[in-house]
Amino acid sequence: MKKDLLGIGDLTRDEIYLVLETAEAMREIGQRPIKKVPTLRGKTIVNLFYEPSTRTRTSFEIAEKRLSADTLNVPVAASSVLKGETLADTALNIEAMAPDMIVLRHASSGAGHLLSRICRSRIINAGDGMHEHPTQALLDAFTIREHKGRVDGLKIAIVGDLLHSRVLRSNVLLLSTLGADVWACGPGTLVPPGLERFGVHVSTSVDDAVGDADVIMMLRIQQERMDGAFVPSLREYFNTFGMTAGRVARAKPDVIIMHPGPMNRGVEIASDVADGPYSVILEQVANGVAVRMAVLYLLAGEAEAD
């Protein structure tokens, strides 16, 4: 594997399968009474989060601890940024203390690439702006495989705010690489220009996107997009794009409903769908730990081989 995991493009198809298969073994560790293995003992991992995050940060931290890494959370928002330190300087200071890996969450697209150029530590992108969130896509693929046995040939509808979504970009790249038939659907104001060049179907019709779908993946729409600039109102968004039981009924009978979280109930997804029998949303969260353990293990293994 490459030094860093900044985006899905850093992984070959074989490496994606390697991560998914390794995650199977990692999941088993989480089911033991003693949920800890010594694999990353002596490794230092810094979780550098410039954006608030509950799910992703907790997931990485649990994954690191289950692998026995020494793990450290840097609450950046509370420290350096307020003092005017640049990302590059903060990273170099952390680097000076010789961590093995840095897990970075940042509001700017490409923040991980900046760190990658100046740090020897391995960088794992835990979400950069509107760019990518590769471990989310990996855990999504893991969850899909768990239910469907494959990704190849499945119709997967991704519905919501496509423009601002790093989850969309990582999933489009990963799921297309694995051979899925990906449909991206959202309001015309929230479709990134040129999206069709990723080899996905782009549609503004939810009915077309979810029709006969094997998987429906909802994307969060942030409240601040609802001020009339992108979408007229919350009510109109829900009526036009919200995932209701009626819309789910157009999909395959064994469809699964996914959401990367945090959910806006009654905005992009009806509560009866989120809590209903097709929903695998909490399984995604559970699988996140196993997939992140796999990524950490494989990147650390590369470090050993250096």
């Binding site: 640049t86 990302l87 590059a88 940042h106 700017s108 697209s109 490409g110 923040a111 690439h113 900046l114 150029r117 950069d128 702006g129 509107m130 760019h131 990518e132 790093r166 970009r169 990134p192 220009p193 040129g194 999206l195 060049r197 990723f198």
Partner: protein, 441 residues
């Protein structure tokens, strides 16, 4: 070395205004051109500078879009370092933008810049004043005073003139002084907080986009207002094919409109956002690098005469400012020390334009648009002369540039064509050790 008379002997003189393209001698007397002719007799006391065959002697190049950053941002550039970069890049004159700190919206700032330029004593500096006080887009700056102090044009560069009404008034007012308004065309709401050209590459990298129409809509407004008022508008750093169409349409109707394009916009595309260095802040500029179809449109405009000027939009930034997240980095790259090599390599040697046309773009037309001297080697004209080396092999080296800043995406590029020497007011202010021109001991 101070000499009163000098003859440049044996070079290929390309002087489109006087219809010259051939081997001529150029006799300089003091700060003026005395005569251009074949095999001029050399009197005693005349310094002879041999120009090796293959070199080109042409009217001094003028970069009409440069940020010298002084006063206020001397950590990026000063008048002294910027004009040192200019002459090393073959430019005998630069026009500098008013978005300094404070803004050049009054005679005091203009005079300060001219004083610094006189002290540096390298390239000529033509200050450009602000259209609006503080470049705030609210009320007109004291334009007559700016003109009197030495400003050759006005602009709110960095952003467009804020409203159609203010632009109308500015065109009407500046017309009294025969001053062009140089316009940074960008419809601000459409630009939003965009940082790159809107399209596949920005989408893939999760960067907020700026469509070409943000530029062309504003250019269309300004061309319409030039027609309404009879005022003079010059479209700065054009990047989008739609803008070029708007300019062509305006010219066809007789509007007083001209336009410029930068080397980076006729060479690079938004593909560079992702490769070779993803999120390289040295490919972040405003307007952004656009698509291949836009780049090709700029080349077509250069070839067919629709484009009037090549300017660099030299925009130095300190490396601290550029070594940040892409969306937080300032817009802009340096250009003075790469332009000539890029133009030779990508335009002349590529067969897009011939040498005479290149000199129109870099010298004749900027002088005409700014209503300044230069642009020809006529008898009696100021002796501002660029000596170019079309076949010189050049490797761009940001580390050795004279500009105080190093923010160029062209570092390491191998190019064919460069500068041999630069003469301003009869003084040899720059000699490239590898260029083939040597000052006699």
């Amino acid at each position: 070395m101070s000499v009163s008379k000098r003859v440049l002997k044996g070079g290929r003189v390309v002087d489109p205004v006087n219809g010259r393209d051939g081997i001529f001698d150029v006799l300089i007397d003091g700060d003026r051109i005395a005569r251009v002719g074949r095999d001029l007799p050399v009197d005693d006391g005349v310094l002879v500078t041999e120009i090796p065959s293959g070199l080109v002697v042409c009217p001094g190049l003028i970069d009409m879009h440069v940020h010298l950053r002084e006063p206020g941002q001397e950590h990026k550039e000063t008048v002294a370092t910027g004009t040192a970069a200019a002459v090393a890049g073959g430019f005998t004159a630069v026009a500098c933008m008013p978005n300094t700190v404070p803004v050049n919206d009054n005679a005091g700032v203009t005079e300060f810049i001219l004083k610094k330029a006189a002290a540096a004593n390298l390239a000529r500096v033509y200050p450009i004043g602000a259209v609006s006080r503080g470049q705030l887009g609210e009320q007109l700056a004291d334009i007559a005073e700016l003109k009197q102090a030495g400003c050759v044009a006005i602009t709110d560069d960095g952003k467009p003139v804020a409203t159609a009404m203010l632009m109308r008034r500015a065109l009407e007012y500046a017309r009294m002084f025969d001053m062009p308004i140089i316009e940074h065309c960008e419809e601000q709401t459409l630009k939003g907080d965009g940082v790159a050209h809107e399209g596949f590459h920005a989408s893939a990298l999760g960067l907020r986009g700026i469509p070409g129409q943000a530029e062309s809509i504003m250019a269309s407004r300004d061309i319409a207002l030039a027609e309404l008022t009879g005022g003079i508008v010059h479209i700065a750093h054009m990047s989008a094919r739609q803008t070029l169409d708007a300019v062509r349409f305006g010219k066809s109707r007789g509007a007083r409109v001209t336009c410029e394009v930068t080397p980076h916009h006729f060479i690079l595309t938004d593909e560079m956002l992702g490769a070779p260095v993803p999120y390289d802040t040295n490919v972040k500029m405003n307007p952004p690098l656009r698509e291949a179809v836009d780049r090709d449109a700029m080349l077509a405009g250069l070839a067919d005469g629709s484009v009037d000027v090549i300017a660099t939009d030299h925009a130095p930034h300190h490396y601290d400012e550029k070594r940040v997240e892409f969306d937080r980095a300032p817009f802009g790259i340096t250009g003075l020390e790469t332009a000539v090599s890029l133009c030779f390599d990508r335009l002349v040697h590529a067969g897009i334009v011939n040498l005479a046309r290149l000199i129109e773009l870099l010298s004749v037309n900027p002088a005409r648009i700014l209503r300044v001297s230069g642009g020809s080697l006529s008898d009696g004209a100021p002796a501002d002369i660029s000596i170019l080396a079309p076949d010189l092999r050049v490797t761009v080296s940001a580390a050795t540039m004279r500009s105080r800043s190093r923010n160029t995406p062209f570092d390491g590029w191998a190019l064919r064509g460069g500068v041999a020497a630069t003469i301003v007011g009869g003084r040899m202010v720059y000699v490239n050790d590898n260029g083939g021109v040597h000052e006699p001991a």
